[in-house]
């Protein structure tokens, strides 16, 4: 057995890692998986960078940021597998949500209108709203910035973004330290269930295929341990397929609800896994298709174009200076080559290309593939824009709000 340690945070989207360890997917590949739970992303990152763990459940933008050396020691990260797409929700205090459409369902169904309502609400509020984000380099923060920027809100000027670990968001909302937060599950469900806030937007309705967590390793470790990495990716691929199967939801919710993992209500976790989200305390939860995706529609494939979308947003908000070297390094974080190698013999259909124009697919689309048939899920951005990874400068020029405005 190959011993491997993986660091993770208590979140519903740690499911593929937890199930791989608990249900024998890792063992079947000859891996003895040891899970290390942390509270903050900084600790997960350090454990990975300094070799205390071989792999980590990591925010996709953080994997890119660590590679580029933003705010810390640079360390090349390899992400050969995406653990999930989507899964985030924006929860606002009732006071702030009162300025939006009174029907919670309308808010999440029409992100265009809600973004404008949010912008208007900033003016009504007696001070800048404080919104909790889980990390500066998180998918949540990028999604929130993208959504607010569309409605003319400059997130660096018009709101205060405050970094807090996901598990402390509900307490901060209760204490009135923040007016809302964007985080992965189960934290929005917990906040709504306790009557602390209302869900006003969901990640899936901002970007149908929002890149969320990845499996991250150090690039030099991946290079030196190809066999162990392939085994781990295969184990996670089977685990992710199991997690995505509706028949396994109850069992998965029970597993995640244990104190060693997420440690929150089994019923709330099961509900979110099914894409049934409570928008307001006491109201019937609503169905949100693809709220959280573990496997279907090639969700695990690390598209290099998605890493570049993250890089484009770093440029947009002035988090990194443009350079051909940085652009290449960012694209290289998502290792579609390692995904292809590990899963070559698994009968999983592979996309023919490793880059695509993001946001161009409106309906399920059959794609060129080496084996079998591959259906790509719709990946639209809510504003209808597309992202061509070959034309990043033009894409950035077209976005109204940028850091340099």
């Amino acid at each position: 057995m190959i011993p491997l340690s993986i660091a993770f945070l208590p979140l519903t989207d740690s499911a593929p890692i937890v199930a791989a360890a608990e249900l024998g997917f890792a063992e079947a590949e000859g891996i003895a998986l040891n899970l290390v739970r942390d509270t903050s992303w900084a600790t997960v990152r350090d454990r990975l960078v300094y070799g205390q763990v071989q792999a980590a459940h990591l925010l996709a933008p953080l994997a890119v940021a660590v590679t580029l050396g933003l705010s810390q020691t640079p360390c090349a990260i390899a992400a050969p597998f995406k653990l999930n797409d989507n899964g985030n929700a924006l929860t606002l205090s009732a006071e702030f949500a009162a300025a939006l459409d009174p029907a919670p369902r309308n808010r999440i169904d029409d992100p265009v209108a809600t973004a404008h309502d949010f912008a208007a609400a900033i003016g009504l509020h007696f001070r800048k709203p404080v919104i909790g984000i889980v990390h500066r380099f998180s998918s949540h923060a990028l999604m929130l910035r993208y959504w607010l920027g569309f409605a003319g809100v400059n997130p660096d000027r018009d709101v205060t973004l405050r970094v807090l670990p996901p598990s402390l968001m509900t307490e901060a909302l209760r204490a009135g330290e923040i007016d809302g937060f964007i985080a992965g599950e189960p934290w929005s469900s917990v906040a709504v269930n306790e009557g602390l806030g209302e869900i006003a937007a969901v990640g899936v309705n901002i970007w149908k295929r929002g890149v969320e967590k990845v499996l991250a390793t150090r690039a030099d470790w991946a290079e030196a341990n190809p066999d162990a990495l392939d085994r781990l990716v295969r184990a996670l691929s089977r685990s992710a397929a199991w997690c995505d199967d509706p028949a396994n939801r109850e069992a998965l919710a029970e597993l995640l609800s244990r104190p060693a993992y997420v440690g929150q209500s089994r019923a709330l976790i099961a509900q979110a896994l099914a894409g049934r989200m409570p928008l307001r305390q006491g109201a019937e939860p609503v169905d949100i298709p693809d709220f959280l995706v573990f496997h279907r529609g090639a969700a695990n494939f690390p598209w290099r174009s998605q890493a570049l979308w993250i890089y484009s947003q770093f440029l947009r908000w002035g988090m990194v200076d443009p350079s051909p070297e940085s652009e290449r390094a960012a694209a290289d974080v998502f290792r579609s080559d390692l995904y292809r190698r590990a899963l070559a013999g698994e009968g999983i259909p592979m996309p023919g290309a490793s880059m695509k124009v993001e946001g161009a697919t409106g309906t399920p689309l059959g794609a060129g593939s080496h084996m079998g048939s591959l259906t790509l899920a719709p990946d639209r951005f809510f504003d209808g824009r597309t992202f061509d990874p070959e034309a990043i400068p033009a894409y950035l020029r077209a976005l109204e709000i940028r850091r340099d405005d």
């Binding site: 942390d38 509270t39 903050s40 992303w41 900084a42 600790t43 350090d46 454990r47 300094y50 070799g51 205390q52 705010s71 810390q72 020691t73 889980v134 990390h135 500066r136 405050r162 970094v163 807090l164 670990p165 598990s167 402390l168």
Partner: protein, 193 residues
């Protein structure tokens, strides 16, 4: 040189603070990571910030270091980017150091060295305390189980203990587990818990 320790006021912070004072660092402040601790830290303008790695506020502090004007740029987390052994030891001990710009490596290293030793000492102490506590709880459970056996089956104390021990050996379980099972069973059957 001003050192900030971000921690709750407790044994761990005390151990670290005392060690630093003994080593001749006297400008030390313990800042609990609650409320507006970041603003307080900005006013203090420390040269070095020490924080427990497991602290949930780590992300908030890093964010502050990334955007703060008062503290200038955060420079490196940890002492030297190339000193992997040192960083590994710090992570092991559960301490992370944030060093603010302009401080020389040779001045920070002794602080971090000391913090690592102190944090290790604390975790050893904690482990011993936990062990003692568990042992006490186990002994209580075994005593209660013995009492139940003595009362319900008229056994002497040594015989009651022998019965618990042989049952545990036959079942491949710990004596304390058998004792707890017996206590549970006895309370379900309506005896004295």
């Amino acid at each position: 040189m001003r050192i900030a320790i971000i921690d709750e006021r407790g044994l761990r912070a005390t151990i670290l603070e005392e060690g630093l004072r003994e080593a001749g660092f006297d400008d030390i402040e313990v800042v609990p990571p609650t409320g507006a601790f970041v603003a307080r830290l900005e006013r203090m303008a420390p040269d070095v910030v020490l924080m427990n790695l497991g602290n949930p506020s780590r992300d908030s502090l890093e964010e502050m270091l990334a955007v703060s004007r008062a503290l200038a740029r955060p420079i490196a987390m940890f002492v030297d980017q190339s000193d992997d052994d040192m960083i590994g030891a710090a992570i092991d001990a559960g301490v992370s150091a944030y060093v603010v710009d302009g401080l020389r490596k040779d001045r920070v290293k002794p602080i971090l060295d000391l913090a690592i030793r102190r944090f290790h000492a604390f975790s050893k102490l904690q482990a011993e305390l936990d062990e003692a506590r568990t042992e006490l709880a186990s002994r209580k459970a075994i005593d209660r189980a013995k009492a139940i056996l003595m009362e319900s089956r008229g056994l002497s104390e040594p015989d009651a203990y022998a019965l618990l021990r042989t049952t545990a050996m036959n079942q491949g379980r710990r004596v304390v587990d058998v004792a707890e099972a017996l206590i549970t069973a006895a309370s379900l059957l309506g005896g004295k818990p």
